[in-house]
């Protein structure tokens, strides 16, 4: 099976799932309609109506981790091709990647020493 056929299957799987879900929705709608009523269409909060928008500036406390994560995510892009040819390349690959990972680990240690790894 060629690559393109495989991607075709995956694309078909996506469309098929979409069709499946939409037909479920159609079935549910045919069974009975939803009734619009006061209070029902407000987000539920445990016995109180909370009509205020919550879409405000959200203080995520993991930004320090997030920044380091981006660097590690980038680095993983190089790891995949490396891992596939690792056995063939042998020691060269080990040393090469050893240096690469050591550099990254330095970054991790630096971040750690500066206290990035805690909730900001």
């Amino acid at each position: 099976m060629s690559g393109l056929q495989q991607y075709g299957i995956l694309f078909g799987l996506t469309l098929g799932t979409l069709g499946f879900v939409l037909s479920l929705y159609a079935l549910a709608r045919a069974i009975g309609r939803s009734r619009a009523e006061a209070g029902k269409d407000v987000p539920a909060t445990a016995g109180q109506l909370s009509r205020d928008p919550v879409w405000v500036r959200y203080n995520a406390r993991y930004t320090g981790y997030a920044l380091l994560f981006l660097a590690f995510d980038m680095e993983m892009a190089f790891m995949y091709p490396w891992s596939v040819v690792y056995r063939e390349e042998g020691l060269v690959a080990l040393l090469d990647m050893g240096v690469f990972l050591a550099i990254l680990f330095l970054g991790l240690l630096y971040g750690w020493s500066q206290g990035v790894f805690r909730r900001q």
Partner: protein
Amino acid sequence: MIGARETTEGGFFSPLQNIISRATAQRLSCLVVPGPELALASGLDLPAAGLALAAGPRQANVLLLVLPLSEKLLTAASIAYAQMPRPRMVLALGEGTFSPLPEADATGPLTSEGLMEATKKLRQIMAEGIFATKIDDYDAPALQTRIEYTCPMHPEVVSDEPGSCPKCGMFLVPKETSTTSDTPSPHDHATMAASRPAASVSSAEFAHTADDNVAKYVCPMHPEVTSDAPGNCPKCGMNLVKPDESEGHGHHTHSHSAHADSEKTAKYVCPMHPEVTSNEPGSCPKCGMFLEEVTKAGGEEQHDHSSHASGKEAAKYTCPMHPEVISDSPGQCPKCGMNLEQQTTDDEHDGHQSSGHDHGGNALLDGLIGLEPGFMSMIEMTDGTPRSSNGLQMEWITAPFGPFFPGLPGGLTLELELDGDTVVEAKTGSLTGLQDPLKNGPLAAADYVAALGVQMPLATIAYRLLACRAIEVAGNTFATPEIKAIRMATLARERIASHLSWLSQLGRQLGLKAVEREAATLHLLVHAADPATIQALEPRVKKLLSKLRRTWFLSRRLATVGALPASAAWDGPTSHDNTAAGRFTARLDEIATSLNEIKGASSLSAPTLADIGTATGEGHAEVQTPRGLASLHIKLESGKVVSATLKTPSMRHIKLVNPLIEQRELADALVAVASLDLSPWELNT
């Protein structure tokens, strides 16, 4: 069935609907009002009846009312009921009214058998069909809304009518709020209070404008789109605006130059309606707010206006958000309503930068890529927003965690101010608090004991005992040692039951399903059992205790939470370290010691009052309830209780909530609150 779903008549799908009805009858998921712990205390075995506990109203299809309920709880229950998706049912157990809620689909006595019977009936009704062709909408006073207007940038600016924000000049956006004051709104601020009394004035004003101009709202882009009510344009989706604020620049210039004449003498101006000016102090005819004296800056602005009206300079004005909006005159942007800003030359621009806005590197950025000054002015808008502990300016949200929040006792309201996932502060309260049993006059001593017991469903024995002791002291009558022993053993049983109920709730909060279930089962077995049964159950209880003690991960999870200072007014179960973990182990220890206390007892029964006759006097008593020390001071007059002062542990402990949860992660904050084991029934509403 009251909460049936809507369907069409004689549908093709009716066979499927029948199957679905029968399946729904097998999947009952209930929201307990006030909370599962009360169902437990009443001896209701929900899992045995096939009722699952729902996390919130959306997941529930049965609203289980454990009656009687306070009015505030019923209001909250009516909101929860309205938010439940159909099909939904009401199951009422016990005696009492539940007025804003629809009539119950099934009722029964507040016993395990009553629950079984009523659930069976519910299943029958559901299996017969959850679909109906004609259904009634549910409405309750708490669901009524009115529209108020608020600034998207400054949520504290709230007005009863559309207009623009006095802080940034943007159009206020319509927002729904509750008409009743029962549901607390976080924006109960001075502005609102100030604008409210003038509602009648403003509606008169409205009527007046309506005479002149039938359409009150038009789309700034499509003048042909008009509407009586605020809303969105069907063509472009923009917010409709009031015509006098959007009819275009020509009109605007005109009105402004007209104002310029009057401004020369104007000294007072309305903060919400800049066009309202007066020579004398007073209130605004539009919104009723007090007119403010024109400040120096405002004066300068008006000077600008008048100089513009005289046409000396051809300065251009532009909207900071919509640069395509360019006008010859100051005013507001037709798109968003913000005040137009004068387009500046470079010199003036620098002046703007140096005028005291210290925004870090913005000046640098500005110089480098020449961002418009308007863009940077967004930062000025954040000046009023709170600063988080990490120095960032964020907006906080107020989220209610209660009265029916899983993992917290039902009836307790915890309104958390959240900065992201972190708690800034809490407002606590109870919807089902103390009521004075003596509000209808003096009560006979025995009736007072019963009334106090009923009021405290989570610690009936302890409060009955407290009342008995206080009255007996007042009447100078004392119980025999045998009765005293029975009382203490019964109190010990209640302590075990109460702590087991607390464990079950903690298990629910932390996602420990096994603990939640086992503790609840044991509670049901213990809470009304005789000494022999408890003796037989002892190995099972001990097994749970030792399992919990050995769970290293659990004690670690609790150890970092809820550390109380030694000076804190805490008198609940405590061990050497007063953290959540310490209170947790202390409760486990208390269960073990209470088991021993029961061992010698011959029988267990709820405390009853010794015969005090028609004694007169004063008495004071204290009882170590499962939650801490409660005290009662009582005045007897010829065998009747005329006044009583009750102090409950939760009253003291609720003050510890705020210091425990400030700047904690939400997860920790909730554990900290749970570790205090507050009872909403012991609090003032």
